[in-house]
Each structure stands twice: as structure tokens, then as C-alpha cells.
Subunit: 383 residues, 2 copies
């Protein structure tokens, strides 16, 4: 009975949040059910069928759904996504669902392998820039860290969002260099975004939340289990236009991410290294299997830009003529303080404009009325 | 008049030796003439036409042959291949012509770019083994020398003839390692085989003569000129089944050899190196252009051996056993769902794993049999 839910199960956001707790990542049976019925109706059916088996409305359930029911029903107990949403809100996060304009369209390519929602801490619109994944092994060399840092710096300077997995080694080097270059870092977690993992990286990942985003497909309080790492890898591959493996041993998990990218027909690149270094063995393996050899940032950028559409980047850096026409000095300053792409919190605009909060709020109000800026979840962006 | 030659110009060997002195390497007009008339008849025509222009027998000569005549006629003066053959004999060499059984059949692919003969010091039958070219820049790093040496050693142990150019750097490292491994080295000279070049390498090249072969398409006493180096490169590419560039700068001459191999449809491989090393820039350039990435001897051998006849070596690589090795995904998930310390009820494992109860029970049974979990008073714990 629908009445059994303490929360508003008819709400699509709430129902999707519930499903992300009920079904583990890559549960395609759940995805198909949600696709067929909608998340809310699928949830109502699950509650009914868990008590007394019945077919979902309009469907005749086969053995897969019956097996699914056995996986899902135990998790109905104490189910209340309001709890996870509160945990998310407490750390300043937002839930993204496919109907949101900021939902990353790149995930559509995953089909029924796409998550029902994303738990996001930070800027929910980091996907508006082109994304490159810089990934690699936890066990890496100083050479690998140096190269990852150099690539992240170059890509950041070119306005590319740099995605990685938040782990030690190459991932951390990529995140740190992106932060240092005032770029847009994105970390995809295998566990909940409330428990930044690994713990030793949590100060860095907190910074990632502030300038980019930390995201996960599993709700807060979920622990990072092995299969969730493997599932998480497909999200990195799907979100990035190009996946670059910087350093990886012969059996590194980074190769799993690369294989997801290959399966999706995305560009996969690998950085070569000394053949005497086991840290590069996985990269060389990829090169032998057809990955593109990249040795510097411009070579990665070549893969990002569609042939013949090479942009000199001038428009991405905010030199739009007439942008500031008709604005008073404070308004102009506030508008210029907003990032060319992405969004900023009020506190950030106050800091970067050097104006008082009241002045900034007034200017933002004026700019919003004039259609020059937009507000979304307490973050501001250029329109 | 044929009578003007002091040597037996009707002899094919003698006539080809004469042509290798008359025409510079890659003189395709000379090659076409020899193909049409035979080397001896072509020589007779040249002697007649140099005095009084006449068409070659059965041919109506166009402007190319008239231009050829102007190149070749000056070299008729003092022409006597017996002199060069004596010089060759003095250093223990032999002339090879296409009708000899030891003639390398691989040169046939050069068509009219093939030399009329080869001047060989050493074993004239080194081509009976499969040949791999290990080449690279004179200016190289200790890394490149080490890798070249390792590859040469492995290929030698596998009975492969190792070809290179006798130069400093990568070439010398390949030759030296082949000698040390009691393999079969071949050095292709740009000048005459009597004057081993560079002089500092001549003790090493003398050894190459004794265990393998030093060869050239130009006769003894010819000096190593720049265009002869470039022509020599095509011979290396043609003689080798696979050309491996070990280390090469962005504009290294080794890339010229690689390009010859590519044009002939031969396999070209490149050894990766640090992207921070200019000595590997040419190799990475080749990798980006489609060369095969090779990191060790077995990978080079794979290119020599027809598909499906070689072990890929993956089983030889070490693998550190981990907690979840050998488990299927459900078993791994269940094992991870158990608390690191303490124990859990079946219902708890079902909830935290997100799997159905039947699946969890099956996995626990398997794990218990494998000694990975223990059951105590209806609670489960890691072993």
C-alpha cells in the first residue's frame, strides 16, 4: 500500500532518492522498471508486491523482476529518503534527477545502466564545460604525479572540467593541480558524498566541493564497497568526453574505467612512460590495444575538440562585447565576478567582487531581473 | 663498343658491381634499364651511347634515360669493378647478386628501388633467419641504450637476426648486446664495407663481420655521404620484418627508416619512454601515427610470428592475491557487506549487500566452504 511510506512517494525526486537506496548501482532491472512505470509508480508497486506478489501495472513480470523483488524488498524496511536528503542538505548538497536542466546528458548513453539520480555536493552544472577524466593508479610514481598535474593544469587553463575518482596517487594529483589552477574539479565517489573517501584526502575533497563538485550515485551514509568502485568507474567514463590514463599498473582499476569508455565508444588516451616502470605497464597495454598516445595537454585537447571546430577560447574567457553595457559599476563588477562558466555561491561572489554582501545581493537582483544572471539552488551563474 | 672494358662486362656479377659504382643508390632509371636489358647489356649500351647517342636495343629512350646517361657517362672513366671486388676479397667479403641463393628475397618488395647488388662482409646467409631492425638516435639516453640492449638480447636468444645501422647510440647498443648474446648482428653501412663507419665503432663492427654481416649497396672506397645514409635506411626497413624504433628525437633520422617501413607495409613498432624525455619524442610521434607500442622482447616477437602462434605472456605477470580474488561478484559483495569486526545476522547481510536472501545464503555457503567466513549462533563473521 502506498500509505505505508512516511515520505511523499509520489514525488519523482523523493522516489528516485529512494530507489538509489533500494537498488545497488547497475541494477538494470530496477532501471527498466523505473523507465516503464516512473520511479514513483515503481516504488508503489514494490511496496504492494513485497507484501502480496502482483504484476506491476501493465506489465507481466518475469523471473528477473521476481528476483529483483527479493533484492529490493528487504530494503523497504526503515526506508525514508528524507533522512538521506537531510544529510545531503547538511553538507550543502543537492539531488539531481534526469528532469533537472543540470542533469548530465552524457549519462543518457548508459541507457539502463544510468543511475536514477545523482547526489551532488558543489556546483550542479559542472557538466556545461567539456569534461576530461584524468585517472590512474593509487600506487604511482613521482613521474606519474608530475604528468597528471601538468595535464590537469593545462586542461583547467583551457576551461575543461577535470574528472577523477578522489583516490590516492594519480587521482589526487589531478584534483590538486586542478584546484591549484583555479579549474573545475569533479570527484566521483564510490560511497556517499557525506563520507569523503579516502579519509586522508577529505580536506582536498572538501575543496573540490567548493570549486567543482563531488558526486555519487549512492546516497549519503553508503560505504564505498568494491562493486561500488567498479560501478563508479562507468560514471567517470560516461561523464568524460575523453578518458586519459596517466599511470596504471598491469591490473590497475583505472583500466576498468578505460574499458567502460572504450565500450561507450569514447576516446581513450594513455600517457606512455618508461618500459622499465611497472607503473606504466597498464598504459602501454592500452596503447597496444588502440588507445591514443598523449604526451601533453594540447594532445589531449585535440581529442576534445571536434575536427574543424577548433576554438581559440576567447569566448570562453568572458570577453563578450556589450556584456557590461547599461550596468552601473557595482553591477558590472558583480557580473564580471561570476565565472564565465559554472556558478558561484553568494559568499564567493562577495569575496571575488570585493563588494559588501548587501551591495552584491542588490546587484544580483537587478541582474536577475535583466536576465543577465540566474539563480539555482543558492548558486549564481551568468545567463 | 663493348671492347673498351678491361673487365668481363658480359658477366652479370661484374656488370652489377659496375652499375653499383656508376649509379647512386635509388637511381630508378638505372634499375629500370637493368630490368629491361640485364645488367651486362645495359652496360654495353651505356658505353656505346656515351660516345654516340643511340636507343637501347628494343627500347625507344625518353628524356629520363637521356638524363640518366648524363649522370652515368662520367663514371665510365677508369671503371673497373675488379678493383672493388679485390678490395672486398681482401677484407673477406663477397658480392651478392639477385641470382644468388643467399640474396635477401625481402628486397624484392623495393621493386626498382632495390640495389643491383650487395657488398657483404661476413655471413652472406644471415637473411635465412627472421630479421628485426632495432634503430634509434645517436643522441640517446642510458634508458634507451638499456632498452635496446634488452631487446637485442631477447631477440638473439630467440634466433632472430638483429639489424641496425652501426651508428653511435641506439644502433651501437643493439649491435653490442647482440654480440654479447652470441646472436646474429647485421650492420648496414652508408659507405663502403671496407671503411667501417663511424671509426670509433670499427672494432665493434669488425666483430659484427665475424659473427653476422656488415653490408652496403655502394662499393668499397665509397664514402658515407648524407644521401647515402637516407638511401641506406630503406635497406634496413626492407630487410627487417619489423622495424623497432627504440629512442628517437622529434626529427631523428630513425623516423626516416620507420617511414620507409610504413610505406612498404611492414610492421613498425616504437618503444615508449617518459613524456618528459626529448629522446622519446619521435617514438611517441610514431605511436600517435599508428606504430605498435612495444615494451619488451616478447611483444616484438609477437609481430614476427603469425597470429595465434605465440603466448601473450599475460600469465607470466605477477598478481598479488587479495581478499576478493576468485570470488564472483555476489560473493565479493556479500563478503564486503560483513563488518570488518564483529558479526551480522543474515537479514542484516541481505540489507547491506542489496542481494536477495537466497543469493546471500548461497554466497555465504560458498564463502564458508572457502574458509572466508564463519557462522556462529546464526550470525556471520569474516574468518
Amino acid at each position: 500500500m502506498p500509505e505505508q511510506f512516511a515520505f511523499d512517494a509520489d514525488d519523482d525526486r523523493m522516489a528516485r532518492a529512494a530507489w538509489s537506496r533500494i537498488a545497488e548501482p547497475r541494477d538494470q532491472d530496477a532501471a527498466r522498471l523505473i523507465r516503464a512505470l516512473g520511479a514513483a509508480e515503481a516504488l508503489h508497486w514494490l511496496a504492494r508486491a513485497a507484501t502480496n506478489w502482483c504484476d506491476p501495472p501493465g506489465l507481466s513480470a518475469g523471473p528477473r523482476l521476481r528476483a529483483g523483488l527479493r533484492r529490493w524488498a528487504p530494503r523497504l524496511e526503515n526506508l525514508d529518503p528524507r533522512r538521506e536528503l537531510e544529510m545531503l542538505a547538511r553538507c550543502g548538497g543537492h539531488l539531481l534527477v534526469p528532469s533537472d536542466p543540470q542533469w548530465p546528458q552524457a549519462l543518457a548513453e548508459l541507457g539502463d545502466d544510468a543511475p536514477p539520480c545523482l547526489w551532488v555536493r558543489g556546483d550542479p552544472a559542472v557538466w556545461e564545460r567539456q569534461c576530461v577524466a584524468l585517472i590512474g593508479a593509487r600506487a604511482c610514481s613521482s613521474y606519474g604525479q608530475e604528468v597528471a598535474g601538468g595535464l590537469a593544469q593545462h586542461l583547467s587553463a583551457e576551461g575543461i572540467t577535470v574528472i577523477s575518482g578522489g583516490a590516492f596517487g594519480i587521482d589526487a594529483a589531478a584534483h590538486r593541480a586542478t584546484l591549484a589552477a583555479h579549474g573545475t574539479p569533479v570527484a566521483v565517489m564510490a560511497g556517499g558524498v557525506d563520507r569523503l573517501y579516502p579519509v586522508a584526502n577529505s580536506p582536498m575533497l572538501e575543496q573540490v566541493c567548493h570549486t567543482g563538485a563531488v558526486i555519487s550515485e549512492v546516497p549519503p551514509a553508503s560505504s564505498p564497497m568494491r562493486h561500488r568502485f567498479l560501478s563508479r568507474n562507468r560514471l567517470i567514463a560516461a561523464l568524460a568526453a575523453v578518458t586519459v590514463v596517466v599511470e596504471a599498473g598491469w591490473r590497475s582499476g583505472a583500466l576498468n574505467t578505460a574499458n567502460h569508455a572504450i565500450e561507450m565508444g569514447r576516446d581513450v588516451a594513455a600517457v606512455p612512460g618508461p618500459v622499465t616502470s611497472p607503473h606504466s605497464a597498464g598504459c602501454h597495454r592500452l596503447l597496444r590495444e588502440g588507445a591514443v598516445c598523449v604526451t601533453d595537454g594540447p594532445e589531449v585537447l585535440q581529442l576534445c575538440t571536434p575536427l574543424g571546430e577548433v576554438d581559440d577560447g576567447s569566448t570562453a574567457r568572458g570577453h563578450v562585447p556589450g556584456l557590461l553595457d547599461g550596468l552601473d559599476p557595482a553591477q558590472a563588477r558583480v557580473l564580471e565576478s561570476l565565472p564565465a562558466r559554472g556558478s558561484a555561491e553568494l559568499a564567493g561572489v562577495v569575496r571575488s567582487s570585493g563588494l559588501g554582501q548587501t551591495e552584491v545581493q542588490a546587484a544580483l537582483g537587478f541582474l536577475e531581473l535583466g536576465g543577465k544572471v540566474q539563480q539555482m539552488w543558492a548558486r549564481w551563474r551568468r545567463a
